[in-house]
């Protein structure tokens, strides 16, 4: 589904990595590995089209992503470092807004179900500024429970700040997504027990 050829990334005037080629097929779970600062986040941002590569092409279903941006963005979900929450809005409002702007207008009940699924039932109507780091993370991740029909998930450190049970639950949900025929590309420094065979792509080998 996702094809990356000869990707190079320039940060300032330093080449972070070059000649990165990677194919992600449906049902695959890919972990981008490498030490801090090697450019994992930069790679994920290139993959979802938030940044423009110095060299190389990213193709989605055979089409260059910058040529068919809107169609591609309909089929990709990116969760970055920042949880994309506004402090003055409640988790429910934040989640509904995120879903609606991504072309999935969602009824309130479904958002509630997703929040309950991720363990934030009680915090539904609190402003996001009073939530803990882990709870903020969960609000962002709740979008995964509304996005079953989005094939490609690109997740930047989804497991940070989560407790053990939540990590297990999320890993199971990612497995389920791969079993449905979706694909997941992510970075993490944690050892997470996945049922799906995990493919590790070591970015350090392409570092400049």
């Amino acid at each position: 589904m996702l094809e990356v050829t000869d990707l190079a990334c320039l940060r300032g005037d330093r080449m972070l990595f070059a000649d990165v080629s990677l194919t992600v097929a449906s049902g695959e779970l890919v972990r981008i590995a490498g030490p801090n600062g090697v450019g994992k986040t930069s790679l994920l941002r290139l993959l979802c089209g938030l940044a423009v590569p110095e060299h190389g092409v990213v193709r989605w279903k055979g089409e260059r992503i910058e040529r068919s941006r809107d169609a591609f963005h309909r089929e990709v979900l990116y969760l970055g470092h920042a949880a994309a929450l506004n402090d003055l809005l409640t988790p429910h409002e934040n989640l509904r807004f995120a879903a609606a702007t991504h072309g999935h207008p969602t009824e309130a009940a479904r958002c509630d179900a997703a929040l309950a699924r991720i363990g934030l039932e009680a915090q539904r109507d609190l402003p996001a500024k009073v939530l803990s780091q882990g709870q903020r993370r969960r609000v962002g991740l709740a979008r995964l429970y509304l996005s079953e029909d989005v094939p490609l998930w690109i997740l930047d450190e989804p497991f940070t700040a989560l407790d053990v049970d939540a990590v297990k639950d999320l890993a199971a949900w990612l497995d389920a997504h791969c079993a449905r025929g979706g694909a997941v590309v992510m970075t993490t420094h944690q050892d997470v027990p996945f049922a799906t065979p995990l493919r590790v792509f070591d970015l350090a080998e392409s570092a400049c």
Binding site: L85, L89, T101
Partner: protein, 222 residues
């Protein structure tokens, strides 16, 4: 498609309501700046009447400038902007919604407060009406052009100062035609030409600024 526009507009208005102190500060700034002039130039009513349109326009312009960084800064720092740029809907739509929300929460209160301040300067009623009309037609340009400037300076160190340097020169024509409309009305030539130019400028900015804005935002998140 329209749902994204409405959704972003609704959210920004809700945020403005939850953060209403910001809106009030802008309004208070406008009032205070306008009130300073009579202290500076003296209370001779003919003189006050003559400077009123210019003073109110400059005050409105500065108040708008102060509030411009609010359009995108918060969303940029908490990652919402990235998510909006990844939306499958056209980016100009939500950019326009954000600009409209800015206009509704900053310019509209200023326009509503202007008649009271016009009294302070002893402006004639018909002149006040022309002033309000010129503000209503001209302030959308301030929001639209200002949003482009805010997007261009997003995330830069000292962005606020840079923003002022960037957009204030662009606001000069609006100031000239805005304040000029009242003078033209008082001198008997009629304000129609000035107001039409302001309206035309608004439509032109409406057609171009959202595109420039989204291009600048894409650069800012990169």
């Amino acid at each position: 498609m329209l749902s994204v526009f409405l959704e972003v507009l609704r959210r920004d208005l809700l945020l403005a309501w939850r953060n209403r102190a910001d809106v009030l500060v802008t309004l208070a700034f406008f009032t205070i700046v306008a009130c300073l002039f009579p202290f500076g130039v003296g209370s001779e009513s003919n003189q006050l009447r003559a400077i009123a349109p210019g003073v109110l326009w400059v005050a409105a312009l500065l108040a708008t400038l102060l509030s411009l960084h609010r359009i995108f800064a918060q969303d940029h720092s908490d990652g919402v902007l990235e998510q909006l740029l990844l939306s499958p809907e056209p980016a100009v739509l939500w950019a326009l919604a954000k600009i409209l929300a800015h206009w509704l929460t900053t310019a509209l209160p200023l326009i509503l407060a202007a008649p009271a301040l016009a009294l302070l300067f002893d402006m004639e009623q018909s002149a006040t009406a022309v002033l309000i009309l010129s503000l209503a037609l001209g302030t959308p340009i301030l929001s639209l052009l200002g949003a482009v400037g805010a997007a261009l300076t997003l995330g830069l160190r000292g962005g606020g100062m840079l923003l002022a340097l960037l957009v204030l020169p662009l606001f000069v024509p609006i100031l000239i035609f805005g304040a000029g409309a009242v003078d033209a009305h008082l001198s008997g030539t009629g304000a129609a030409a000035h107001l039409l130019l302001l309206g035309g400028g608004s439509l032109g900015a409406l057609a171009l600024a959202p595109w420039a804005c989204t291009a600048a935002l894409r650069i800012a998140v990169e």
